[in-house]
Symmetry: C2
Subunit: 99 residues, 2 copies
Amino acid sequence: MSETTTWSELRDRRLAEPGATEAYNAARLAFELGAGVRELREARGWSQTQLANAAGMTQSAVARFEAGGAVPTLPVLERLAQALDVELAVRFTPKPMAA
Amino acid sequence: MSETTTWSELRDRRLAEPGATEAYNAARLAFELGAGVRELREARGWSQTQLANAAGMTQSAVARFEAGGAVPTLPVLERLAQALDVELAVRFTPKPMAA
DNA sequence: CCCGGTTATAGCATCGGTGCTATGGCCTGG
DNA sequence: CCAGGCCATAGCACCGATGCTATAACCGGG
């Protein structure tokens, strides 16, 4: 994740346009969720294949998701949560304090 | 909808088939999120058109969303949250208790 | 009675996530 | 060296959410 990747390019471009931060935040969410799933999965000692099987998908789908390759949809998140035996919480919370 | 088939019927039916609860939960999430957005919007005294404008979408999209007509995607939720000046929280939480 | 504002719904095009198969690289154990 | 398990990626078809315009229903005030 260094400056040589297209990541920073994309981010800067998106941050440049006003009101484009949402897409960036969504991508960020995807990445964090992927990392979270990976943690939960590894904590259980499962392989991607096992989790995929439990969640009704294939290993490639799990890999893509954990890599943050796409912003996941709520049904998929729900299935993963169910497979990992955790609860998926999606809610609007009052903003902390920032600008 | 409330003529012969009731909500609880639908729920029970879906809960009956194994592995179908995810889709049901996703739909439920869509509905709850739609209601939540409606609350936040009305609390600000905004019209669907105003919110749509602020969120970079059209009134019809907001209406569809509030009606729970489709399971929203994370980018859309992020934009709505930003327009409503709230934070969108999506996370996996340890399950309270089995059911 | 018409008009402006608001919400709901339909129809349609497009974009993107999902699901799948297949493959390659990597490491470990036999 | 070879076999097997694990992960990453590519390519593709399909489905569904999104975005749009247009329209209907409703209600308020002029």
